[in-house]
Symmetry: C2
Amino acid sequence: MNILKHISVDCAIFGFEGGELKLLLIKRDDEYIHNEWALPGGNIREDEGVNEAAQRILAEMSGVGDVYMDQVYVFGDPGRVKDRIVTVAFYALVNPAIYKLKPNIPGALEARWFELDKIPDVALDHKEIIETSLRKLKRRFKFEPVGYELLPEKFTLRDLQNLYEKIYGIELDNRNFRKKILGARLLIETDGQQKNVSHRPAKLYKFDRERYNAYKRKGINMDILPAWYNDF
Amino acid sequence: MNILKHISVDCAIFGFEGGELKLLLIKRDDEYIHNEWALPGGNIREDEGVNEAAQRILAEMSGVGDVYMDQVYVFGDPGRVKDRIVTVAFYALVNPAIYKLKPNIPGALEARWFELDKIPDVALDHKEIIETSLRKLKRRFKFEPVGYELLPEKFTLRDLQNLYEKIYGIELDNRNFRKKILGARLLIETDGQQKNVSHRPAKLYKFDRERYNAYKRKGINMDILPAWYNDF
DNA sequence: TCAAAAGTGTTTGCAATACACCCATGC
DNA sequence: GCATGGGTGTATTGCAAACACTTTTGA
């Protein structure tokens, strides 16, 4: 199957593991990138959509599909790559515990999760793509509760709070945080508990996807519009 | 100069005129569209960036460049057009009074501003592109004061309120609206007044672009994050 | 019994909302 | 003088923010 010349997709894949927000990078060695860390990416086939191409590429590396992905931006200046290539950037949210890296990815020497403040130099304009993706991720989290994409099925409120704190690099008041999260009624209390912790074990929660879907379009209170206006 | 095969740009151009929010459509007759209303669009040249291509195409129709434009989304499913073409959609905000339509645009039989609730059937998947663009426009206005792109240099507070009301299709309380707008200190009172109105003439204001640029990254109050967090 | 994190309520202040009347002008 | 939209102020209320102690468990 032919590919579309002059277009590619690149994916900023975020994961949350060990209390840290991480980004997946690949050490690539191909026509454009020589033994450098870079975002996973690739070409679009003639018979697949742009979004599907991104899903496929992610699946080829992690072995799993149906992942939360979102378009970030199109980078298309001439000169961004040796040949003239316009790339559509995506970001994806995955739980690294589930989405294990595949070994022996063709064209990739190595794959690794990097903590956000330890990202090495990357190829081409991928630094800019990463920064733009992170900005978009922050915005997303500001306006929509997507945290569960990054967490295991069951998690504690502290896990969720840590996630927010890592994404924004700030500390949150845990009373207010719990009030808001529980007040949104997006979590379902399970009968599980933390195990093997040397302190009071936390309750485990899971996301209420149904209620989440209802919330999806809610939007947030703004200066100009009345808060009840949610038609987005 | 060669063009990039398999990629195009399409522009949803919004204007505000006569108290109505309008969209510019072109009656196109070319390889893909036969005598149908459609968004202005075209190919990307090898030596120009994607964003520049969008600016150029807009300039070719209106004769004016340096317009507020923003990427909306990439539409790239196979089958959206006869051949395999991925299109990058943009929206632009222009003041129709300034950006006059050019006659005799190559490949375009006619160009016209349509009120949003009177948009005719459009070619290909342009209906979807228009809807997505409008959604993005609404979001933009919710979080950033870009109204002045659509208004003349000097305007009344009522003009601005009308603009918001048209975009969202709701009515706003004028006392609260004025309080917020003036409170944001984004407007500079000029010494001009409305003329020839058979009622108390309104003061004319202009935007304070400098202060606006400072506000640009402010972001809005959110549920999870403290309101003072603005690092976007 | 100590360490460590989980869990919990109240007060305060600000900002969004709702609401109604006088003002300036043209005709 | 009247019709028309411009322009203004206040009271209420709900929510975000700040804040500290008790509870539960493992070691």
